[in-house]
Protein backbone atom coordinates (compact mmCIF):
# COMPACT_ATOMS: atom_id res chain seq x y z
CA UNK A 1 0.00 0.00 0.00
CA UNK A 2 1.31 3.38 -0.91
CA UNK A 3 -0.20 4.83 2.26
CA UNK A 4 2.08 2.68 4.41
CA UNK A 5 4.39 5.57 5.21
CA UNK A 6 2.22 8.21 6.85
CA UNK A 7 3.45 11.75 6.49
CA UNK A 8 1.68 14.95 7.52
CA UNK A 9 0.97 15.57 3.86
CA UNK A 10 -0.82 12.28 3.48
CA UNK A 11 -3.65 13.03 5.85
CA UNK A 12 -7.06 13.03 4.21
CA UNK A 13 -7.24 16.81 4.26
CA UNK A 14 -3.82 17.15 2.73
CA UNK A 15 -4.68 14.58 0.10
CA UNK A 16 -7.89 16.36 -0.83
CA UNK A 17 -6.14 19.70 -0.95
CA UNK A 18 -3.48 18.28 -3.23
CA UNK A 19 -6.06 16.57 -5.42
CA UNK A 20 -8.09 19.74 -5.74
CA UNK A 21 -5.21 22.14 -6.21
CA UNK A 22 -3.36 19.64 -8.39
CA UNK A 23 -0.26 19.99 -6.20
CA UNK A 24 1.28 16.56 -6.15
CA UNK A 25 4.96 15.87 -6.03
CA UNK A 26 5.65 15.61 -9.73
CA UNK A 27 5.69 18.74 -11.87
CA UNK A 28 4.53 16.66 -14.83
CA UNK A 29 1.13 17.54 -16.34
CA UNK A 30 -1.89 15.33 -16.78
CA UNK A 31 -2.54 14.06 -13.27
CA UNK A 32 -6.13 15.34 -13.09
CA UNK A 33 -7.33 14.19 -16.53
CA UNK A 34 -5.35 10.96 -16.30
CA UNK A 35 -6.85 10.07 -12.96
CA UNK A 36 -10.31 11.05 -14.16
CA UNK A 37 -10.06 8.81 -17.24
CA UNK A 38 -8.60 5.92 -15.25
CA UNK A 39 -11.23 6.06 -12.54
CA UNK A 40 -14.17 6.49 -14.92
CA UNK A 41 -12.92 3.64 -17.10
CA UNK A 42 -12.48 1.26 -14.20
CA UNK A 43 -15.74 2.37 -12.59
CA UNK A 44 -17.90 1.76 -15.63
CA UNK A 45 -16.15 -1.38 -16.79
CA UNK A 46 -15.09 -3.01 -13.52
CA UNK A 47 -16.36 -1.54 -10.26
CA UNK A 48 -20.04 -1.09 -11.18
CA UNK A 49 -20.29 -4.63 -12.64
CA UNK A 50 -18.66 -6.05 -9.49
CA UNK A 51 -21.03 -4.06 -7.30
CA UNK A 52 -23.97 -5.37 -9.33
CA UNK A 53 -22.81 -8.92 -8.67
CA UNK A 54 -22.49 -8.30 -4.95
CA UNK A 55 -25.79 -6.41 -4.77
CA UNK A 56 -27.60 -9.25 -6.52
CA UNK A 57 -26.09 -11.84 -4.21
CA UNK A 58 -27.01 -9.97 -1.02
CA UNK A 59 -30.56 -9.56 -2.27
CA UNK A 60 -30.87 -13.27 -1.53
CA UNK A 61 -31.51 -14.44 2.02
CA UNK A 62 -28.66 -16.54 3.45
CA UNK A 63 -30.70 -19.73 3.10
CA UNK A 64 -31.61 -18.93 -0.50
CA UNK A 65 -27.97 -18.17 -1.21
CA UNK A 66 -26.86 -21.47 0.28
CA UNK A 67 -29.55 -23.42 -1.55
CA UNK A 68 -28.32 -21.99 -4.85
CA UNK A 69 -24.59 -21.85 -4.24
CA UNK A 70 -24.15 -25.04 -2.24
CA UNK A 71 -26.52 -27.50 -3.92
CA UNK A 72 -25.19 -30.97 -4.68
CA UNK A 73 -24.94 -30.10 -8.33
CA UNK A 74 -23.04 -26.89 -7.59
CA UNK A 75 -20.66 -28.67 -5.21
CA UNK A 76 -19.92 -31.31 -7.83
CA UNK A 77 -19.20 -28.52 -10.31
CA UNK A 78 -16.82 -26.72 -7.91
CA UNK A 79 -14.96 -29.93 -7.17
CA UNK A 80 -14.45 -30.60 -10.85
CA UNK A 81 -13.53 -27.00 -11.67
CA UNK A 82 -11.05 -26.53 -8.83
CA UNK A 83 -9.71 -30.07 -9.13
CA UNK A 84 -9.12 -29.95 -12.87
CA UNK A 85 -7.61 -26.47 -12.68
CA UNK A 86 -5.29 -27.53 -9.82
CA UNK A 87 -4.11 -30.72 -11.55
CA UNK A 88 -3.56 -28.85 -14.81
CA UNK A 89 -1.63 -26.11 -13.02
CA UNK A 90 0.63 -28.64 -11.29
CA UNK A 91 1.35 -30.33 -14.63
CA UNK A 92 2.03 -26.90 -16.12
CA UNK A 93 4.52 -26.11 -13.36
CA UNK A 94 6.48 -29.27 -14.18
CA UNK A 95 6.28 -28.88 -17.96
CA UNK A 96 6.85 -25.12 -17.75
CA UNK A 97 9.99 -25.59 -15.66
CA UNK A 98 11.27 -28.12 -18.20
CA UNK A 99 10.59 -25.78 -21.13
CA UNK A 100 12.10 -22.75 -19.41
CA UNK A 101 15.17 -24.77 -18.42
CA UNK A 102 15.77 -26.14 -21.89
CA UNK A 103 15.12 -22.82 -23.64
CA UNK A 104 17.33 -20.78 -21.31
CA UNK A 105 20.19 -23.19 -20.71
CA UNK A 106 20.69 -25.21 -23.87
CA UNK A 107 21.56 -24.29 -27.43
CA UNK A 108 20.03 -26.53 -30.06
CA UNK A 109 18.41 -26.29 -33.48
CA UNK A 110 14.86 -24.97 -33.34
CA UNK A 111 15.31 -23.35 -29.95
CA UNK A 112 13.87 -20.02 -31.04
CA UNK A 113 10.94 -21.71 -32.74
CA UNK A 114 10.22 -23.58 -29.52
CA UNK A 115 10.52 -20.35 -27.54
CA UNK A 116 8.04 -18.62 -29.86
CA UNK A 117 5.51 -21.45 -30.16
CA UNK A 118 5.11 -21.63 -26.38
CA UNK A 119 3.14 -18.37 -26.62
CA UNK A 120 0.54 -19.86 -28.96
CA UNK A 121 -1.97 -20.71 -26.20
CA UNK A 122 -1.99 -16.99 -25.30
CA UNK A 123 -2.82 -15.95 -28.84
CA UNK A 124 -5.04 -18.78 -30.05
CA UNK A 125 -8.79 -18.32 -29.46
CA UNK A 126 -9.86 -20.91 -26.90
CA UNK A 127 -12.72 -22.04 -29.12
CA UNK A 128 -10.14 -23.19 -31.68
CA UNK A 129 -8.20 -25.06 -29.01
CA UNK A 130 -11.38 -26.77 -27.84
CA UNK A 131 -12.42 -27.63 -31.38
CA UNK A 132 -9.09 -29.27 -32.21
CA UNK A 133 -8.63 -31.08 -28.91
CA UNK A 134 -12.14 -32.49 -29.14
CA UNK A 135 -11.41 -34.18 -32.45
CA UNK A 136 -7.77 -35.25 -31.96
CA UNK A 137 -8.56 -37.59 -29.09
CA UNK A 138 -11.80 -39.28 -30.24
CA UNK A 139 -11.72 -42.91 -31.30
CA UNK A 140 -10.71 -42.26 -34.90
CA UNK A 141 -8.77 -39.05 -34.24
CA UNK A 142 -5.05 -38.62 -34.85
CA UNK A 143 -4.13 -39.36 -31.22
CA UNK A 144 -7.30 -41.16 -30.20
CA UNK A 145 -6.74 -44.11 -32.55
CA UNK A 146 -3.72 -45.07 -30.43
CA UNK A 147 -4.94 -43.90 -27.03
CA UNK A 148 -8.58 -45.01 -26.95
CA UNK A 149 -7.70 -48.74 -27.37
CA UNK A 150 -5.43 -48.29 -24.32
CA UNK A 151 -8.39 -46.95 -22.39
CA UNK A 152 -7.22 -43.33 -22.45
CA UNK A 153 -10.16 -41.09 -23.31
CA UNK A 154 -8.70 -37.72 -24.20
CA UNK A 155 -12.00 -36.30 -25.38
CA UNK A 156 -15.39 -36.04 -23.72
CA UNK A 157 -14.03 -36.97 -20.31
CA UNK A 158 -12.61 -35.30 -17.23
CA UNK A 159 -9.15 -36.05 -18.53
CA UNK A 160 -10.05 -33.99 -21.62
CA UNK A 161 -10.77 -30.99 -19.41
CA UNK A 162 -7.39 -31.29 -17.70
CA UNK A 163 -5.66 -31.75 -21.04
CA UNK A 164 -7.01 -28.59 -22.60
CA UNK A 165 -6.30 -26.62 -19.40
CA UNK A 166 -2.68 -27.84 -19.48
CA UNK A 167 -2.43 -26.41 -23.00
CA UNK A 168 -3.90 -23.07 -21.95
CA UNK A 169 -1.79 -22.67 -18.80
CA UNK A 170 1.62 -23.71 -20.11
CA UNK A 171 2.88 -20.28 -21.27
CA UNK A 172 2.07 -18.69 -17.91
CA UNK A 173 4.63 -20.88 -16.14
CA UNK A 174 7.25 -20.75 -18.90
CA UNK A 175 7.08 -16.97 -19.11
CA UNK A 176 7.33 -16.39 -15.37
CA UNK A 177 10.17 -18.88 -14.79
CA UNK A 178 12.22 -17.94 -17.85
CA UNK A 179 13.40 -14.43 -16.79
CA UNK A 180 14.28 -15.58 -13.27
CA UNK A 181 16.16 -18.61 -14.54
CA UNK A 182 18.22 -16.55 -16.96
CA UNK A 183 19.05 -13.96 -14.30
CA UNK A 184 20.44 -16.59 -11.92
CA UNK A 185 24.12 -16.02 -11.42
CA UNK A 186 26.27 -18.87 -12.59
CA UNK A 187 28.78 -18.38 -9.74
CA UNK A 188 26.40 -19.71 -7.08
CA UNK A 189 26.17 -22.94 -8.99
CA UNK A 190 29.91 -23.01 -9.48
CA UNK A 191 30.38 -22.44 -5.76
CA UNK A 192 28.01 -25.29 -4.99
CA UNK A 193 29.85 -27.53 -7.42
CA UNK A 194 33.26 -26.60 -6.03
CA UNK A 195 32.01 -27.48 -2.54
CA UNK A 196 31.33 -30.95 -3.85
CA UNK A 197 27.61 -30.79 -4.59
CA UNK A 198 26.40 -33.03 -7.36
CA UNK A 199 24.49 -31.53 -10.27
CA UNK A 200 21.26 -32.88 -8.82
CA UNK A 201 22.01 -31.49 -5.36
CA UNK A 202 22.81 -28.12 -6.86
CA UNK A 203 19.51 -28.15 -8.71
CA UNK A 204 17.42 -29.22 -5.72
CA UNK A 205 19.15 -27.10 -3.06
CA UNK A 206 20.32 -24.03 -4.98
CA UNK A 207 18.43 -23.52 -8.21
CA UNK A 208 14.96 -24.80 -7.38
CA UNK A 209 14.55 -22.77 -4.15
CA UNK A 210 15.39 -19.55 -5.95
CA UNK A 211 12.88 -20.40 -8.67
CA UNK A 212 10.07 -21.05 -6.19
CA UNK A 213 8.57 -17.53 -6.29
CA UNK A 214 8.23 -17.74 -10.07
CA UNK A 215 6.81 -21.25 -9.86
CA UNK A 216 4.19 -20.07 -7.37
CA UNK A 217 3.23 -17.16 -9.60
CA UNK A 218 3.09 -19.39 -12.66
CA UNK A 219 0.95 -21.89 -10.79
CA UNK A 220 -1.42 -19.14 -9.64
CA UNK A 221 -1.82 -17.68 -13.11
CA UNK A 222 -2.39 -21.08 -14.74
CA UNK A 223 -4.79 -22.06 -11.97
CA UNK A 224 -6.80 -18.84 -12.22
CA UNK A 225 -6.99 -19.24 -15.99
CA UNK A 226 -8.21 -22.81 -15.55
CA UNK A 227 -10.89 -21.89 -13.01
CA UNK A 228 -12.55 -19.45 -15.33
CA UNK A 229 -12.12 -21.27 -18.60
CA UNK A 230 -15.26 -21.94 -20.57
CA UNK A 231 -14.72 -21.57 -24.32
CA UNK A 232 -12.55 -24.62 -24.85
CA UNK A 233 -14.18 -26.86 -22.26
CA UNK A 234 -17.64 -26.82 -23.79
CA UNK A 235 -16.06 -28.49 -26.81
CA UNK A 236 -14.13 -31.22 -25.02
CA UNK A 237 -16.51 -32.07 -22.19
CA UNK A 238 -19.83 -33.89 -22.25
CA UNK A 239 -21.22 -31.22 -19.89
CA UNK A 240 -23.34 -33.63 -17.86
CA UNK A 241 -24.44 -32.35 -14.42
CA UNK A 242 -22.64 -34.08 -11.50
CA UNK A 243 -20.20 -35.72 -13.90
CA UNK A 244 -18.54 -33.35 -16.28
CA UNK A 245 -20.12 -29.98 -15.64
CA UNK A 246 -17.74 -27.19 -14.64
CA UNK A 247 -18.89 -24.22 -12.54
CA UNK A 248 -18.91 -21.63 -15.37
CA UNK A 249 -21.12 -24.00 -17.32
CA UNK A 250 -23.55 -24.30 -14.44
CA UNK A 251 -23.66 -20.51 -14.17
CA UNK A 252 -24.53 -20.33 -17.83
CA UNK A 253 -27.29 -22.93 -17.60
CA UNK A 254 -28.85 -21.04 -14.65
CA UNK A 255 -28.69 -17.88 -16.73
CA UNK A 256 -30.40 -19.55 -19.65
CA UNK A 257 -33.29 -20.40 -17.32
CA UNK A 258 -33.38 -16.72 -16.29
CA UNK A 259 -32.45 -17.73 -12.74
CA UNK A 260 -30.14 -14.76 -12.31
CA UNK A 261 -30.01 -14.98 -8.51
CA UNK A 262 -28.86 -18.59 -8.54
CA UNK A 263 -26.31 -17.86 -11.26
CA UNK A 264 -25.01 -14.96 -9.18
CA UNK A 265 -24.65 -17.06 -6.04
CA UNK A 266 -22.55 -19.65 -7.87
CA UNK A 267 -20.53 -16.89 -9.53
CA UNK A 268 -19.75 -15.35 -6.14
CA UNK A 269 -18.38 -18.65 -4.85
CA UNK A 270 -16.27 -19.13 -7.97
CA UNK A 271 -14.97 -15.57 -7.78
CA UNK A 272 -14.23 -15.83 -4.06
CA UNK A 273 -12.37 -19.08 -4.71
CA UNK A 274 -10.16 -17.62 -7.39
CA UNK A 275 -9.44 -14.37 -5.53
CA UNK A 276 -8.59 -16.27 -2.35
CA UNK A 277 -6.23 -18.54 -4.25
CA UNK A 278 -4.51 -15.62 -5.90
CA UNK A 279 -4.10 -13.84 -2.57
CA UNK A 280 -2.79 -16.97 -0.90
CA UNK A 281 -0.27 -17.51 -3.67
CA UNK A 282 0.77 -13.85 -3.53
CA UNK A 283 1.40 -14.20 0.16
CA UNK A 284 3.35 -17.45 -0.31
CA UNK A 285 5.39 -15.84 -3.04
CA UNK A 286 6.18 -12.78 -0.93
CA UNK A 287 7.18 -14.94 2.01
CA UNK A 288 9.34 -17.10 -0.18
CA UNK A 289 11.02 -14.11 -1.73
CA UNK A 290 11.87 -12.79 1.73
CA UNK A 291 13.46 -16.07 2.77
CA UNK A 292 15.30 -16.43 -0.49
CA UNK A 293 17.28 -13.29 0.24
Amino acid sequence: MSAAKPSPNQSLGGTLRRLVSGKHRSPLPGFGPGLAVTISWLTVMLFVPLIALIAKSISLTPSEFLAAAWSDRARAAYTLTFGAAAIAAVVDVILGLLFAWVIVRYRFPGRQMLDAIVDLPFALPTAVAGLVYSSLYVKNGWFGQFLVPLGIEGAYSRFAIVLVLVFLGLPFVVRTVQPLLSSLEGDIEEAAASLGASRWQTFMRVILPSLMPALYTGFALAFARGLGEYGSIIFVSTNIPFKSEIAPMLIYSRLEDYKYEEATAIAVVLLAGSITTLMLINWLEARNRRYAR
Binding site: M1, H24, G34, T38, G110, L114, A127, P179
Partner: protein
Protein backbone atom coordinates in the same frame (compact mmCIF):
# COMPACT_ATOMS: atom_id res chain seq x y z
CA UNK B 1 7.80 -9.96 -19.90
CA UNK B 2 9.48 -9.05 -23.16
CA UNK B 3 12.16 -7.03 -21.43
CA UNK B 4 13.20 -10.08 -19.51
CA UNK B 5 13.05 -12.57 -22.31
CA UNK B 6 15.51 -10.46 -24.20
CA UNK B 7 17.84 -10.56 -21.26
CA UNK B 8 17.62 -14.31 -21.72
CA UNK B 9 19.29 -14.11 -25.06
CA UNK B 10 21.98 -11.77 -23.78
CA UNK B 11 23.16 -13.53 -20.65
CA UNK B 12 22.47 -17.07 -21.69
CA UNK B 13 25.76 -17.27 -23.55
CA UNK B 14 27.84 -17.26 -20.39
CA UNK B 15 25.86 -20.12 -18.87
CA UNK B 16 27.82 -23.31 -19.19
CA UNK B 17 25.58 -26.28 -19.60
CA UNK B 18 27.43 -28.91 -17.65
CA UNK B 19 24.85 -31.64 -17.63
CA UNK B 20 25.99 -34.72 -19.53
CA UNK B 21 25.21 -34.68 -23.24
CA UNK B 22 22.76 -37.60 -23.12
CA UNK B 23 20.80 -35.83 -20.42
CA UNK B 24 20.61 -32.61 -22.40
CA UNK B 25 19.45 -34.50 -25.49
CA UNK B 26 16.84 -36.30 -23.39
CA UNK B 27 15.40 -33.05 -22.02
CA UNK B 28 15.41 -31.35 -25.41
CA UNK B 29 13.65 -34.30 -27.07
CA UNK B 30 11.12 -34.35 -24.26
CA UNK B 31 10.38 -30.68 -24.92
CA UNK B 32 9.94 -31.33 -28.61
CA UNK B 33 7.64 -34.26 -27.91
CA UNK B 34 5.45 -32.25 -25.52
CA UNK B 35 5.37 -29.22 -27.80
CA UNK B 36 4.36 -31.45 -30.71
CA UNK B 37 1.55 -33.16 -28.85
CA UNK B 38 0.19 -30.05 -27.14
CA UNK B 39 0.81 -27.32 -29.70
CA UNK B 40 2.30 -28.22 -33.08
CA UNK B 41 0.08 -31.14 -34.13
CA UNK B 42 -3.13 -29.33 -33.11
CA UNK B 43 -1.93 -26.37 -35.18
CA UNK B 44 -1.36 -28.53 -38.25
CA UNK B 45 -4.69 -30.28 -37.68
CA UNK B 46 -6.62 -27.01 -37.98
CA UNK B 47 -5.30 -26.42 -41.49
CA UNK B 48 -5.59 -30.05 -42.59
CA UNK B 49 -9.27 -30.02 -41.65
CA UNK B 50 -9.94 -26.52 -42.99
CA UNK B 51 -8.54 -27.42 -46.41
CA UNK B 52 -9.98 -30.95 -46.50
CA UNK B 53 -12.32 -29.84 -49.28
CA UNK B 54 -9.59 -27.95 -51.11
CA UNK B 55 -8.99 -24.25 -51.29
CA UNK B 56 -12.27 -23.59 -53.07
CA UNK B 57 -14.16 -25.51 -50.38
CA UNK B 58 -12.41 -23.46 -47.73
CA UNK B 59 -13.31 -20.25 -49.58
CA UNK B 60 -16.94 -21.33 -49.96
CA UNK B 61 -17.23 -22.18 -46.29
CA UNK B 62 -15.93 -18.79 -45.35
CA UNK B 63 -17.53 -16.37 -47.77
CA UNK B 64 -20.56 -18.09 -49.29
CA UNK B 65 -22.16 -18.58 -45.91
CA UNK B 66 -24.11 -15.46 -44.97
CA UNK B 67 -23.96 -16.14 -41.24
CA UNK B 68 -20.22 -16.73 -41.26
CA UNK B 69 -19.75 -13.57 -43.33
CA UNK B 70 -21.75 -11.62 -40.78
CA UNK B 71 -19.68 -13.02 -37.92
CA UNK B 72 -16.49 -11.80 -39.61
CA UNK B 73 -18.07 -8.39 -40.08
CA UNK B 74 -19.23 -8.26 -36.44
CA UNK B 75 -15.80 -9.27 -35.15
CA UNK B 76 -14.29 -6.48 -37.23
CA UNK B 77 -16.54 -3.99 -35.42
CA UNK B 78 -16.47 -5.31 -31.86
CA UNK B 79 -12.75 -6.02 -31.53
CA UNK B 80 -11.38 -2.65 -32.75
CA UNK B 81 -13.86 -0.75 -30.58
CA UNK B 82 -12.89 -2.65 -27.45
CA UNK B 83 -9.19 -2.42 -28.24
CA UNK B 84 -9.40 1.30 -28.96
CA UNK B 85 -11.10 2.17 -25.67
CA UNK B 86 -8.77 -0.05 -23.66
CA UNK B 87 -5.74 1.42 -25.40
CA UNK B 88 -6.65 5.06 -24.78
CA UNK B 89 -7.69 4.40 -21.19
CA UNK B 90 -4.76 2.04 -20.64
CA UNK B 91 -2.28 4.71 -21.68
CA UNK B 92 -3.98 7.24 -19.39
CA UNK B 93 -3.89 4.76 -16.52
CA UNK B 94 -0.23 3.87 -17.09
CA UNK B 95 0.70 7.57 -17.19
CA UNK B 96 -1.23 8.36 -14.01
CA UNK B 97 0.02 5.33 -12.11
CA UNK B 98 3.69 5.61 -13.03
CA UNK B 99 4.30 9.36 -13.06
CA UNK B 100 2.47 10.27 -9.86
CA UNK B 101 2.26 9.00 -6.33
CA UNK B 102 -1.13 9.34 -4.69
CA UNK B 103 -3.25 7.51 -2.15
CA UNK B 104 -5.19 4.67 -3.72
CA UNK B 105 -2.54 4.11 -6.39
CA UNK B 106 -1.85 0.54 -5.27
CA UNK B 107 -5.57 -0.13 -5.17
CA UNK B 108 -5.96 0.94 -8.79
CA UNK B 109 -2.95 -1.17 -9.79
CA UNK B 110 -4.55 -4.20 -8.18
CA UNK B 111 -7.89 -3.42 -9.82
CA UNK B 112 -6.21 -3.50 -13.21
CA UNK B 113 -5.28 -7.15 -12.60
CA UNK B 114 -8.70 -8.15 -11.34
CA UNK B 115 -10.16 -9.24 -14.70
CA UNK B 116 -7.55 -12.05 -14.73
CA UNK B 117 -9.23 -13.49 -11.63
CA UNK B 118 -12.77 -13.22 -12.98
CA UNK B 119 -14.11 -16.05 -15.11
CA UNK B 120 -15.30 -14.66 -18.45
CA UNK B 121 -18.68 -16.25 -17.83
CA UNK B 122 -18.95 -14.35 -14.54
CA UNK B 123 -17.94 -11.18 -16.37
CA UNK B 124 -20.73 -11.74 -18.86
CA UNK B 125 -23.15 -12.41 -16.01
CA UNK B 126 -22.28 -9.06 -14.40
CA UNK B 127 -23.24 -7.21 -17.57
CA UNK B 128 -26.45 -9.22 -17.87
CA UNK B 129 -27.34 -8.25 -14.29
CA UNK B 130 -26.77 -4.59 -15.09
CA UNK B 131 -28.14 -4.21 -18.58
CA UNK B 132 -30.81 -6.84 -19.27
CA UNK B 133 -34.06 -5.13 -20.18
CA UNK B 134 -36.34 -6.96 -17.76
CA UNK B 135 -34.68 -7.06 -14.36
CA UNK B 136 -31.39 -5.27 -14.97
CA UNK B 137 -30.28 -2.49 -12.64
CA UNK B 138 -30.11 -0.11 -15.59
CA UNK B 139 -33.24 -1.47 -17.31
CA UNK B 140 -35.49 1.57 -16.60
CA UNK B 141 -32.92 3.91 -18.11
CA UNK B 142 -32.23 1.67 -21.12
CA UNK B 143 -35.94 1.18 -21.81
CA UNK B 144 -36.48 4.93 -21.62
CA UNK B 145 -33.88 5.63 -24.29
CA UNK B 146 -34.60 2.42 -26.20
CA UNK B 147 -31.05 1.06 -26.10
CA UNK B 148 -30.44 -2.66 -26.24
CA UNK B 149 -27.13 -3.73 -24.70
CA UNK B 150 -27.56 -7.37 -23.82
CA UNK B 151 -28.24 -9.65 -26.82
CA UNK B 152 -26.88 -6.86 -29.03
CA UNK B 153 -23.49 -5.56 -30.18
CA UNK B 154 -22.93 -2.98 -27.39
CA UNK B 155 -22.98 -5.84 -24.89
CA UNK B 156 -20.45 -7.75 -26.99
CA UNK B 157 -18.14 -4.72 -26.93
CA UNK B 158 -18.48 -4.28 -23.17
CA UNK B 159 -17.88 -7.95 -22.42
CA UNK B 160 -14.82 -7.96 -24.68
CA UNK B 161 -13.55 -4.78 -23.04
CA UNK B 162 -13.87 -6.20 -19.55
CA UNK B 163 -11.77 -9.23 -20.37
CA UNK B 164 -9.04 -7.18 -22.07
CA UNK B 165 -8.77 -4.34 -19.50
CA UNK B 166 -5.32 -5.32 -18.18
CA UNK B 167 -3.39 -5.86 -21.39
CA UNK B 168 -2.26 -2.40 -22.53
CA UNK B 169 -1.85 -0.88 -19.05
CA UNK B 170 -0.02 -3.96 -17.71
CA UNK B 171 2.41 -3.84 -20.61
CA UNK B 172 3.12 -0.12 -20.24
CA UNK B 173 3.45 0.21 -16.46
CA UNK B 174 6.70 -1.77 -16.02
CA UNK B 175 8.13 -0.20 -19.19
CA UNK B 176 7.36 3.35 -18.05
CA UNK B 177 8.68 2.61 -14.59
CA UNK B 178 11.93 1.36 -16.08
CA UNK B 179 12.25 4.37 -18.37
CA UNK B 180 11.72 6.86 -15.52
CA UNK B 181 10.55 10.41 -16.10
CA UNK B 182 13.79 12.35 -16.55
CA UNK B 183 13.09 13.11 -20.18
CA UNK B 184 9.56 14.33 -19.46
CA UNK B 185 10.84 16.52 -16.62
CA UNK B 186 13.41 18.03 -18.93
CA UNK B 187 10.68 18.75 -21.46
CA UNK B 188 8.57 20.45 -18.79
CA UNK B 189 11.48 22.61 -17.70
CA UNK B 190 11.98 23.65 -21.33
CA UNK B 191 8.36 24.77 -21.48
CA UNK B 192 6.82 21.98 -23.55
CA UNK B 193 3.03 21.70 -23.50
CA UNK B 194 1.41 18.52 -22.12
CA UNK B 195 0.57 17.29 -25.63
CA UNK B 196 4.08 18.00 -26.87
CA UNK B 197 5.51 16.03 -23.96
CA UNK B 198 3.28 13.08 -24.70
CA UNK B 199 3.64 12.98 -28.49
CA UNK B 200 7.30 13.99 -28.76
CA UNK B 201 8.88 12.51 -25.63
CA UNK B 202 6.80 9.76 -24.05
CA UNK B 203 5.19 8.14 -27.07
CA UNK B 204 8.43 7.65 -29.03
CA UNK B 205 9.89 5.93 -25.95
CA UNK B 206 6.98 3.60 -25.33
CA UNK B 207 5.73 3.04 -28.89
CA UNK B 208 6.96 -0.54 -29.30
CA UNK B 209 5.76 -1.56 -25.85
CA UNK B 210 2.42 0.08 -26.57
CA UNK B 211 2.08 -1.74 -29.87
CA UNK B 212 3.00 -4.97 -28.11
CA UNK B 213 0.22 -4.42 -25.56
CA UNK B 214 -2.27 -3.52 -28.29
CA UNK B 215 -1.46 -6.69 -30.22
CA UNK B 216 -1.92 -8.87 -27.15
CA UNK B 217 -5.14 -7.06 -26.30
CA UNK B 218 -6.31 -7.56 -29.87
CA UNK B 219 -5.53 -11.29 -29.87
CA UNK B 220 -7.39 -11.81 -26.63
CA UNK B 221 -10.34 -9.74 -27.87
CA UNK B 222 -10.64 -11.77 -31.07
CA UNK B 223 -10.52 -15.01 -29.13
CA UNK B 224 -12.86 -14.02 -26.32
CA UNK B 225 -15.56 -16.61 -25.90
CA UNK B 226 -17.12 -17.05 -22.46
CA UNK B 227 -18.06 -13.44 -21.71
CA UNK B 228 -19.32 -12.84 -25.24
CA UNK B 229 -21.23 -16.12 -25.25
CA UNK B 230 -23.21 -15.06 -22.19
CA UNK B 231 -24.19 -11.58 -23.36
CA UNK B 232 -24.78 -12.49 -27.02
CA UNK B 233 -27.96 -14.51 -26.62
CA UNK B 234 -26.73 -16.08 -29.85
CA UNK B 235 -29.01 -14.49 -32.40
CA UNK B 236 -28.32 -15.50 -36.01
CA UNK B 237 -26.83 -12.69 -38.10
CA UNK B 238 -26.86 -10.38 -35.12
CA UNK B 239 -24.64 -11.44 -32.26
CA UNK B 240 -22.34 -14.18 -33.53
CA UNK B 241 -18.66 -13.25 -33.45
CA UNK B 242 -16.18 -15.51 -35.24
CA UNK B 243 -15.28 -17.39 -32.07
CA UNK B 244 -18.96 -18.04 -31.36
CA UNK B 245 -19.51 -19.03 -34.98
CA UNK B 246 -16.87 -21.78 -34.64
CA UNK B 247 -18.89 -23.30 -31.84
CA UNK B 248 -22.22 -22.94 -33.66
CA UNK B 249 -20.94 -24.68 -36.79
CA UNK B 250 -19.42 -27.40 -34.62
CA UNK B 251 -22.79 -27.95 -32.91
CA UNK B 252 -24.45 -28.12 -36.34
CA UNK B 253 -22.01 -30.89 -37.35
CA UNK B 254 -20.61 -28.60 -40.05
CA UNK B 255 -16.98 -29.51 -39.43
CA UNK B 256 -15.47 -28.04 -42.62
CA UNK B 257 -17.26 -24.75 -41.96
CA UNK B 258 -16.17 -24.72 -38.34
CA UNK B 259 -12.53 -25.42 -39.23
CA UNK B 260 -12.57 -22.83 -42.00
CA UNK B 261 -13.44 -20.11 -39.47
CA UNK B 262 -11.00 -21.64 -36.98
CA UNK B 263 -8.22 -21.53 -39.58
CA UNK B 264 -8.69 -17.78 -40.03
CA UNK B 265 -8.56 -17.30 -36.26
CA UNK B 266 -5.44 -19.47 -36.12
CA UNK B 267 -3.77 -17.41 -38.85
CA UNK B 268 -4.50 -14.30 -36.81
CA UNK B 269 -2.95 -15.95 -33.74
CA UNK B 270 0.14 -16.94 -35.73
CA UNK B 271 0.58 -13.42 -37.07
CA UNK B 272 0.28 -12.18 -33.50
CA UNK B 273 3.18 -14.43 -32.56
CA UNK B 274 5.32 -13.21 -35.45
CA UNK B 275 4.58 -9.57 -34.65
CA UNK B 276 5.42 -10.23 -31.00
CA UNK B 277 8.85 -11.57 -31.90
CA UNK B 278 9.57 -8.55 -34.08
CA UNK B 279 8.36 -6.15 -31.40
CA UNK B 280 10.33 -7.86 -28.64
CA UNK B 281 13.48 -7.04 -30.59
CA UNK B 282 12.33 -3.44 -31.11
CA UNK B 283 11.56 -2.97 -27.42
CA UNK B 284 14.90 -4.46 -26.44
CA UNK B 285 16.69 -2.15 -28.83
CA UNK B 286 14.90 0.92 -27.49
CA UNK B 287 15.56 -0.11 -23.88
CA UNK B 288 19.23 -0.59 -24.73
CA UNK B 289 19.33 2.81 -26.33
CA UNK B 290 17.73 4.56 -23.38
CA UNK B 291 19.96 2.83 -20.85
CA UNK B 292 23.06 3.66 -22.89
CA UNK B 293 22.20 7.34 -22.99
Amino acid sequence: MHVNSVRTQKTAGKMVANEPLWFRILLISLCYLIASVLIIVPLIYVFVQAFSEGISGWWNNLFNDAETRHSVFLTLIVVPLAVLVNTVCGVAAAWTLTKFKFPGRTLLMTALDLPFAVSPVVAGLMFVLLYNLRTGYFAPMLNAIGLKVIFAWPGLVMATMFVTIPFVARELIPLMQALGDDEELAAVSLGASPWQIFWRVTLPNIKWGLLFGVIQCNARAIGEFGAVYVVSGRIERETYTMALRVEKLFQDYNNPGSYAVASVLTLMALSTLVLKIILERMVAASMEQSSAE
